[in-house]
Symmetry: C2
Subunit: 413 residues, 2 copies
């Protein structure tokens, strides 16, 4: 007997038939005695349909009214899912974000949750009802409907789990969980039984996009045990757990993330005066271009080379900004390379264990892959390499760190 | 400068284009300085789409969840209409029934309005915003979404007009207003400039279906001046006004209503004992069959004939109930006639003026139309006649009472 918050996305509730399947899944938990709070998204396609209506009306729809419009999507799903449960003889009550009440700030279309009142939900759980909550939405202090932005249903689920002190927050998706790397690249990629929040953050932000980063951060902040699992297949999925568990101290690598869509910019021969990194990077950031890896090297002649990566689609724009800066700073030249990629080794274990980096570099060297940039953080090591080596590099690392080994620390489910 | 509540139905807001046209209409009132509160229905087709989804889920959808589902229809419209107004530079704010707050009883899918809080609306009007309210919906004391049943948007509009003490409640429809009779039957049918609440009630219930009876009753109770007019054509429409105005005391007939879909049942030779009307009619009503006109005649032999009309579709069922009753009461026989119709003359004027009835009977006699039943109330005289004479009777009466005469009391707009 536990209190479980479950979240089902748009694809999982995309038709009446699928909603019935979701009801069956919920019931399997009710039958073993769990209390269940369910968070659902709009049926797949619905948000797009509503957005199209709004854009037929005006190119930049008024944010306040956009929220009124879009929030109907989830409201349809909560009603249908509650019916599916009631039809099967299980008590169910639907609630919109405003009814719960999920209080947010005033930032329409991208609101942040401030507070959740758990009174009504707890009362329904006590009456043995499944509580079905519309994801993605809330109300501000003034009582206006707000939405949390796309993917906000994950955030709703985690926030509810935190407010209700749930035993687990289960996010149902179209994948079976978090893998050591992308199974399309490495056939032996293994489903992780557990992963830490920090690892998950790195894995999610580095390409293995399973969950909204924001919801993972939220879960970390409130220490909500989060599980990712499949709506369509059986399995325990991946539990995103707290650091500090015994098993987490092993010198293990959780997985390998990669980013294909990158470009590298280098400004060479920048005169060495204080603040040059800011002078070079600042204007790029201010133009709304997201800057990823940054490295600065002092050259022997007293000048500096600054290298950083951006999304490939924004690289031309970044280049023209840099050309101007280079002229005014009297730098030597600006070089753009769009044929690169980033591969990262992620794992909490590495912070306390030497030798991970050298093992990584050795594995790449053995495949004659030249490393252009290296950056490290507490729980990851990223390298920028030529794009054509991406698959080869990921496979070599996966094998070198024995991630496909079912006897490893993150054993397969 | 006035405070006006306007209601637009599903056809009037059936597409983005039509919603834009509604915005233009609202703006014409704003431009002359009026404060406007708008009540809208779901876009045409939307309620049917949602109902179909629910019925795919279960044949008899849970009422509570049906309300959560259906109320999204109007919510989409309020958002789009507010956008259309904002796009044109007119401030607008949308509100769901729950946000206003329109408090109802707990009768899901057929709730009744108990109370309306006008605070939020008045605050928005003071800020020069158009207030756009979702029709058809409210919340109960527990904060659950309720709906007022189909056509409930009219009721919402009238209730809001009453709560806000609006100068006028305008119901926009696909007809230009209330006519002396159905223009499809009588070409010279004239648009009434004014009609009393009582006349309207009779006209609406007797076939000239323009407004929901419930909303007209509501308007009468709270003395809300109600105007019916067309969304698509220009014109002043018909004002449904209070009795007591000078003009209302004229011996005028407002119009002629008719009901095609009737059947007549007669039980003859019922022994004359107290309570026989109840014994005959009671079981029919209890079977959920609506009984309309009822007449009872004592025959010379001390027995009674009881005649009444029902909807034609329910007449066979009523007949079989009556056959049983007739046996147990030892009545002579039960006769069913499905080839009849009802024609009614409606007008507040007739209550104080003799001669209306005889003029009516004379007009019908001149066309050799035999009258089978006559019933009268304060403001109407109804006759049941053979169905084949319907058009002839309506035209004869329309002409006899000079309803097409533009110099009549209810002059054309």
């Amino acid at each position: 007997m536990a209190l479980i918050v479950q979240k089902f996305g748009g694809t999982s509730v995309g038709s009446v038939e699928r909603i019935e399947a979701v009801a069956e899944k919920i019931i399997s938990f009710r039958d073993r005695g769990d209390d269940v709070v369910v968070v659902v998204s709009a049926m797949s396609g619905e948000t797009n349909r509503l957005t199209a209506l709004a854009q037929e009306m005006m190119e930049q729809p008024i944010a306040r009214e956009m929220d009124v419009l879009l929030s109907t999507g989830e409201q349809v799903t909560i009603a249908l899912l509650s019916m599916a449960l009631e039809k099967r003889g299980y008590g169910a009550r639907s609630f919109t974000g405003g009814q719960v009440r999920i209080l947010t700030d005033d930032a329409h279309t991208k609101a942040r949750i401030r507070e959740i009142d758990s009174t009504r939900i707890m009362a329904q759980l006590e009456q043995q009802n499944v509580v079905v909550v519309a994801g993605f939405q809330g109300v501000n202090e003034a009582g206006c409907i707000t939405t949390l932005g796309r993917g906000g249903s994950d955030t709703t689920a985690v926030a509810l789990a935190a407010a209700l002190k749930a035993d687990e927050c289960q996010i149902y998706t179209d994948v079976k969980g978090v893998y050591t790397t992308d199974p399309r690249v490495v056939e032996e990629a293994r489903l992780l039984k557990t992963v830490t929040f920090e690892e998950m953050l790195e894995l999610a932000s580095l390409g293995a996009k399973v969950l909204q980063i924001r919801s993972v951060e939220f879960a970390g902040k409130y220490k909500v045990p989060l599980r990712v699992l499949s709506s369509f297949e059986e399995g325990e999925g991946t539990l995103i757990s707290f650091e500090g568990d015994e098993a987490m101290e092993d010198p293990s690598i959780a997985g390998i993330a990669f980013e294909r869509d990158e470009a590298k910019l280098t400004v060479t021969g920048v005169p060495d005066v204080p603040g040059i990194a800011y002078n070079v990077i600042g204007p790029v950031s201010e133009a709304g271009i997201e800057v990823d890896v940054i490295v600065q090297n002092a050259a022997a002649d007293g000048t500096n080379d600054i290298t950083f990566t951006v999304k490939r689609g924004e690289s031309e724009r970044a280049k023209s900004i840099l050309d101007n800066i280079a002229r005014s700073l009297k730098a030597r030249e600006v070089d753009l390379d769009t044929k690169i990629c980033k591969v990262s080794l992620v794992g909490v274990g590495m912070r306390s264990h030497a030798g991970i980096a050298s093992k990584m570099f050795k594995a790449l060297a053995q495949e004659s892959i030249n490393i252009q940039i290296i950056t490290t953080s507490e729980i990851k090591i990223s390298v920028v390499i030529e794009e054509k080596y991406l698959e080869l590099a990921v496979r070599a690392l996966h094998s070198a760190f024995e991630l496909g080994d079912p006897d490893g620390e993150h054993s397969s489910s």
